[in-house]
Structure formats: structure tokens, C-alpha cells
Amino acid sequence: MHRDALQEVANVAMGEAGAKLAELLDTFVRLSVPRILISDAAEVPDTLGKLLEPHNAVTAVRQSFLSRIQGEAIVLFGEAGCAELADLMGYDGVLAPSERREVLLDIANVLVGACLGGVFRQFGLELGFTAPSLLAEDTPAQRLIRADTLDWSRALLVEVNFRLEQGAFSSHLIVLLPERSIDRMRESLDQIIAAL
């Protein structure tokens, strides 16, 4: 029941994030069914690689969020989609690398804010964010995070993805929660389920 409940909470939140992205890019966004995985921290890099197939290389933006439940939000962009960004954003020509980074940071910030904001509103919790920063550019998904940099033993991954109806642009939002936050989130989900 918890997985189901979390999936539904994530589904409601991603609807809001998708609408924001649609507004930003002025196009229709297709939403996915959220995926939820629990993984040993050591296996997080491989799990990420599998989640992101068939993307070979991704550009990633990360943001930490702070609340009673804390964790990391990572937004990933596929290589092919990045090439279309200039068009989508209405720029002429090709984006300079610095412009591209700025656009990706903006998009990530909007998605993370809307999605996590939506989740935490359902939990009845306030939350804060760090500024988004570039985690990696054109990097294989398995190499995004080094297992030894995770100060956790287990992690929960929640993945939602946004595809545009036309073109190759897609982005994935992955939320990583450490063990203690997993327990606290379980309490929040308990409350939602108990209220049913």
C-alpha cells in the first residue's frame, strides 16, 4: 500500500510540474507513471543507469531539499533533447554552452519546485531548496553519482519523466531519499492512508 500511495502522491505532483514545463516550452507534455525503487546505496549508480535507458549520456542538475524529509532531487536531460532546446525556447541559432546551462538550470528549478512542492503540500510539510547546480554534462548515467559519496546505506528513488509530443526532448526527475527520510516519509504516507 505504501508504494501505491507514494506513486499516487508523486503522480499528483508531477501533473503540476508537467503543466509548468508545458507552459515554459509552449507545448504538450506527456506524463509517465512514476517509478519507485528501493536500492542499496552501492547499487544506486547502476539503478540510475537502468532507469535512464536508452539515454547514453545525460546532463544533470541537482538540488537538495530540506524539510522533515530531506534528500536530493536530480533532473536529467538526454543528449538529443538538449540540441533542440534553442528551438523550444525560441532562441535563434545554437545555444552557447553557458546559455544552455542556464536554460537547463531554469527548467530543472521549475520541475523540482513544482514536483516536490506538490508532494510536500500533500504531506502538509514546508520545504526549502538549495540553488540548482550542474552535476554533470554529457555523462553516462551510471557515472552520475559515485556510490561512495552517498552517506547512506539505502536509498529510495522516485522517477518521473516528461516527454514532449514532438521532438526528442525529455527530462527525468529523480528524487533520492536517505534511510532516515524514508522512515519519515512512511509516517507521512501513513497519515494520508489513515485519513482515507
Binding site: N11, G15, L31
Partner: protein, 121 residues
């Protein structure tokens, strides 16, 4: 006679929330379906005079259910229940024959006026 109502959502929690949001004084017989395939089976078994339909589901999503109903000239009052708040999503499902759109999370306050408006209640 009770009205056959079908609740279609891949999430058991979402189905439960919807069932709780149905008006108390509405005489219904509720059936659940977890995806589009199950939904059409239930429809064909006469269990969906009114259908509450989620959009994002594995094994046949809500759009495909609406397309099938339309293609086969099937008749059900379909109310889409979705977290997708893009205006275009609402337009599309209405073009495909849905009579209403309710934004998740569903509450009794959101549902009752819609059911009254369409004379379902």
C-alpha cells in the same frame, strides 16, 4: 435500480479516494479496474453507466480507453480524473467524448457539482 459506476485507476489509493468522494445519497454499485483493459472488460459486462477514468496508467491508458469507446460507439458517461492539469489535456479528453474533467486529488466538493451539472446524480 443502482447505477453501475466504474472507477478506473492504477492506484488502489486513488480508487479509494474517489469512492469516498462519491455522494452519500447516490445509489450506486461500484466496480474497480486497475487499467484500461480491465475497464473495457467491466464496461462490456455492463458495469459502467458512469466511468471515472484516470489518464496515466500502464496497460492501456485513459486516452486509449476513450478512443476505443468512441471507435466502437460505446455509450458511457466518462469523467476523467487526472493530475494532468494542462489545458490541452482537458480539451483532448473532451474531444474524445469525456463529459467532465476532475483534477486530482479528488474530493466530494469537486465531484458533486459536476455530477449534478450533467444530471448524472
Amino acid at each position: 435500480m443502482s447505477t453501475p459506476v466504474l472507477i478506473v485507476d492504477d492506484s488502489a489509493m486513488a480508487r479509494k479516494m474517489l469512492q469516498r468522494a462519491l455522494p452519500n445519497d447516490w445509489d450506486v454499485e461500484v466496480t474497480h479496474a486497475a487499467n484500461g483493459v480491465e475497464a473495457l472488460q467491466a464496461y462490456r459486462a455492463g458495469k459502467a453507466a458512469v466511468m471515472f477514468l484516470d489518464l496515466t496508467m500502464p496497460d492501456m491508458d485513459g486516452y486509449q480507453v476513450l478512443e476505443t469507446l468512441r471507435r466502437e460507439s460505446l455509450d458511457s458517461f466518462v469523467i476523467v480524473v487526472s493530475a494532468d492539469v494542462q489545458p490541452l489535456a482537458q480539451e483532448r479528453v473532451k474531444q474524445l467524448g469525456a463529459i467532465g474533467f476532475v483534477r486530482k486529488p479528488v474530493t466530494a466538493e469537486k465531484l458533486a457539482p459536476l455530477l449534478r451539472e450533467y444530471g448524472v446524480l
